[in-house]
């Protein structure tokens, strides 16, 4: 065991509530001691579930071990806690790059560079990606010009197949936007819409009875797909379905975009 790890271990043992677990976990990770690093990170996360650095550390460890799906989820959580976390933006950018989505990779790296302009490695990575995809949008979170919005194209005109299936349903269970097909290609939008409305009522009942407050989302994992239900407005329910090989964090991200798009559309058509 190297001196710094020994010292940091002793510091953590002396004060288990200390944030030194972040440095210890990182030191272990950098030496390739992933099991020990994960143990430190998970113990830290249990104590500090809302610390973005703890999620970032655990995500790095998971990514080093090849568990990219859970790494994405942890970085996604870090970004929810700190939307400008350079580590999480870089991490998600790396995962998008690895998945071949260079445009989204570049968006995240550009946002990371805005948060950490001194990071020269980041600038070099951006230059390499720019050579692949050309200039892209401003960093996530930065002000963007309003794109022309045409409500006649429906609530999800800006989405494509890679974003999965989407259905927007009213409180009576009628499909008012999007489309969902079963694996054979049969359109099941209307039947599924009715079940979505029922599932939303069940979610409300359960959350009310358990004193959990208003429900925000329901995530369902099946053998081949993951689904997310949420309410873009009090009168509507949204379902987003993606292949299971997409991380849950990606599903949440897509659902947030779809909910925002649905709200915009509903305002325009009312």
């Amino acid at each position: 065991m190297s001196d710094d790890i020994r010292t940091l271990t002793a510091e953590l043992a002396a004060d288990p509530s200390s944030l030194v677990f972040l440095r210890l976990g990182e030191a272990l990770r950098q030496r390739g001691l992933l099991q020990a690093a994960a143990k430190v990170a998970v113990a830290g996360l249990i104590r500090y579930p809302h610390h973005p650095g703890a999620h970032d550390l655990y995500a790095h460890i998971l990514a080093d071990g090849g568990d990219y799906e859970r790494a994405f989820d942890e970085w996604d959580m870090a970004l929810r806690l700190d939307p400008t976390s350079p580590g999480a933006l870089k991490g998600i950018g790396y995962l998008y790059h690895r998945a071949g989505d260079h445009t989204r990779a570049l968006e995240h790296l550009a946002a990371a560079a805005a948060a950490a302009p001194e990071d020269e490695g980041l600038q070099a990575a951006i230059s390499r990606l720019l050579a692949l995809v050309g200039p892209v949008a401003a960093p996530a979170g930065a002000a963007e010009p309003e794109a022309p919005f045409d409500p006649s194209r429906g609530p999800f005109a800006d989405f494509d197949e890679a974003d999965g299936a989407r259905l927007l349903v009213d409180s009576g269970g009628l499909c008012i936007g999007g489309r969902l097909t079963a694996p054979g290609g049969t359109d099941r939008s209307e039947e599924v819409a009715a079940e979505i409305a029922g599932a939303c009522r069940e979610a409300s009942r359960a959350a009310d009875h358990l004193d959990l407050g208003a429900w925000q989302s329901v995530i369902v994992e099946c053998e081949d797909v993951n689904l997310l239900l949420e309410r873009p407005t009090p009168e509507t329910c949204l379902l987003v379905m993606q292949d299971r090989d997409q991380p849950i964090g990606q599903l949440r991200y897509t659902a947030e975009r779809a909910a925002a798009s649905a709200r915009r559309w509903l305002e325009a058509v009312r």
Partner: protein, 116 residues
């Protein structure tokens, strides 16, 4: 509660924010075993979660995706995690706000695999 069931519940109940865990019959919402805080009405909790899973099962079946394996209900002040196990059993966990979501999900899925 048998030692086997206690061993299933133990790692879940150690997660920060968890208020209880139950094993429920998915078919009728009856509690098979439970370890819940006193203020949680287990019978109602079981019936509600079984009903939610039943409805979600109809939805996923119509979508041609089979039965749910794991469900997370997230709300303002907490969450419910559940995973399906063998023999039509559900492992259901009630968690307060601040519970580490990824860890809870993982433990629930692992524990559900030990049922039956």
């Amino acid at each position: 509660m048998t030692d086997d069931l206690a061993a299933v519940f133990e790692p879940i109940l150690q997660i920060r924010g968890v208020r209880g865990a139950m094993i429920v019959s998915a078919a009728d919402g009856v509690v098979v075993a439970a370890s819940l805080m006193e203020d949680v009405d287990g019978d109602a909790f079981a019936a509600l979660t079984a009903s939610l899973v039943g409805r979600l099962g109809s939805l996923t079946d119509l979508a041609g995706q089979g039965a749910p394996r794991c469900v997370q209900l997230h709300a303002e002040h907490g969450a419910v995690f559940l995973a399906t196990g063998p023999a039509d059993l559900l492992l259901v966990v009630l968690a307060g706000a601040g519970t580490p979501v990824g860890l809870a999900r993982l433990q629930v899925i692992q524990a559900a695999g030990q049922l039956g």
